[in-house]
Structures are given as C-alpha cells and as structure tokens.
Subunit: 135 residues, 2 copies
DNA sequence: TACACTCGATCCGGCTGCGTAACGAATTAG
DNA sequence: CTAATTCGTTACGCAGCCGGATCGAGTGTA
C-alpha cells in the first residue's frame, strides 16, 4: 500500500533518519554507495557491475570502487559468474542485511515520530519562510 | 500523524528516492551536507555553526566547510549576529527552498509507489534472503 | 585461427572532505 | 585594563571518490 507524504513530512522524515545515521558511529557511506547497497538488497538478483552502472547512472569504475568499499565493510561479496566468467555477481551478506535492517529501523522510527516532535529536542513550531534570495 | 513503515517499505522508499537523486544531475551533497541543509530548513531558526555542530555531532570546521559548499551552491547564506558579533546565523534562500522542495517531491513519489512497482523497472517479486556471511 | 567485442579492474590526475591545531575577532570575567 | 573564554575560520596533512583511458581475461563470430 502506498504511503502519502506531504513535502514537510517527507523532509522531516529524511532529516530525522539521516541525522540519526550521521550522528551514529556507523560507517559513512556516500550517497552512491548507499544507493548501490540498497539496490543489491531490495531488487531481485542477479546484480552485476554493468547492471548497477546503467541502472544508477554511475560510471563502472565508480561501481567497482564502491564494491571494494562495501566489500571491505563485509556488506557485499563478489562472485564470478560461471556461465560468463567475465561477469561478476554481487551477493548479499548477513552483515549487510544487519546494517540495512538497523538503518530501516531508523527510517521507520523517523516516520513514526512525524507530527509528534521528539521528546528531547525542542518541538517544531511553524516554519518561518525562506529569506530573500542571495543574488 | 505518524507514518508506519515496515522494514521493506522503509528500504524501498529510501532506495527509490536516493536513486532518483543519484541518477539526477543535481549537485552531489554528502550525507553531512544534506543533514545540515535539512536541519536549517526544517528546524526553527536561528542556526549557528556551534548549534549545528553539537546537534549533528559534526566538528565545527566540517560545518564551516559544508556551509562554504552550500553557500556557493546558493542554498544557504551566512549573516553576522548583531548582538554577538562572533556568531553567525545560517539563513535560508529561495534557491535552497526550491532544491529541497524538488527533493521532497522525489521522496513523496517514492512513498506513493510503495507496493506498486514502477512501471518501467521490472516488478519486485519476493526477495531472496541474504547469502551466508563471508567470514 | 584470427579478430572484434564485452566485462570488470586498475591507473592517472584532480577534486573534495575530514580532524587537529592554531588563529583573529569579539565577549566576558576579575 | 588584562586575561580567559567563546565563536567561527583557516592551515595542514591525509584519505576517499571522481571520470576517462587503458588493461587483461573471457566470449562471440567468421
């Protein structure tokens, strides 16, 4: 079932989840690394360097390097494809699943708190509109 | 009103919005830059370097540099505080509001498509569980 | 067999971001 | 008035990521 978010809720959701992630001591993944990780874990396999490159509009070297990083974090594994031994398959790991599971909890938690301001940070009264442009 | 997302929905939401953002040609903001921008635009002013630093658990120099970047993108402005001229106030701009508005639309769109697979990408059949750990 | 092509990795120069330390300016304490 | 503190910025060395070009290995084709 779809979830309907207005602009304010969408931004608040993103802010809370992202802030929790930034504040935390987990590894700092770039937006691209995160996009790759999420694609591998939430889209149906198999995943290849080329497929990820085209799907996310990211150059192949960038994918390759991101997989290095994700691999050394233990979030992903490379495996040669036996039918086409040029190709590699990007595989999931338990460690990666745990990481994303915790991240998903942060997002869920952020959604749950929408319009019920966090008890510790000050409430979020009406917004002041953006100031005049700088140029 | 709160929004309840299970883990799969939370990850799918994040993946779709993040992928759209990565795929697009907008500026590539780091997680920290994005967290700062969202804080400035969705929390009540005033915002100072020190406040952002403490709130997000980011060193002051990092905040300062992020503001340089966000400022040169026109998403944010610095203004000296007249009551304490050591302090600066981080102000919003129209350009930044437009950027976040478009981003919010991507998030909303991602939420709207939950459990109704995108028409162009292949549908998202049941997930295969993560493979065994690599270690 | 010989040649073109595909796949992923690596090399290269450049750019961006990081934390620690030090700084000048402004404010506060004594 | 002087000294200590606070605010944000800058200097520095370091680490990571970027795209384009190039590479070797593997595959398809004639």
């Amino acid at each position: 079932m779809p979830v309907y978010l207005n602009q304010d809720d969408a931004l608040a959701l993103w802010r809370d989840a992202l802030s929790a992630s930034v504040r935390g001591d987990g590894p700092d993944l770039s937006a691209r690394q995160m996009a790759i990780l999420l694609t591998v874990y939430t889209q149906t396999p198999p995943h290849t360097v080329r497929g990820l490159s085209e799907g996310l509009n990211i150059s192949k070297p960038a994918i390759s390097r991101a997989l290095d990083r994700l691999g050394q974090l233990g979030f992903v594994r490379r495996r040669r494809d036996d039918y086409d031994r040029r190709s590699i398959e990007v595989q999931r790991t338990v460690k990666g699943a745990v990481f994303l599971s915790e991240f998903a909890d942060q997002v869920s938690e952020a959604g749950r708190e929408l319009d019920s301001p966090t008890p510790f940070e000050a409430g979020t009264p009406p917004q002041t509109p953006p100031e005049d442009p700088a140029y």
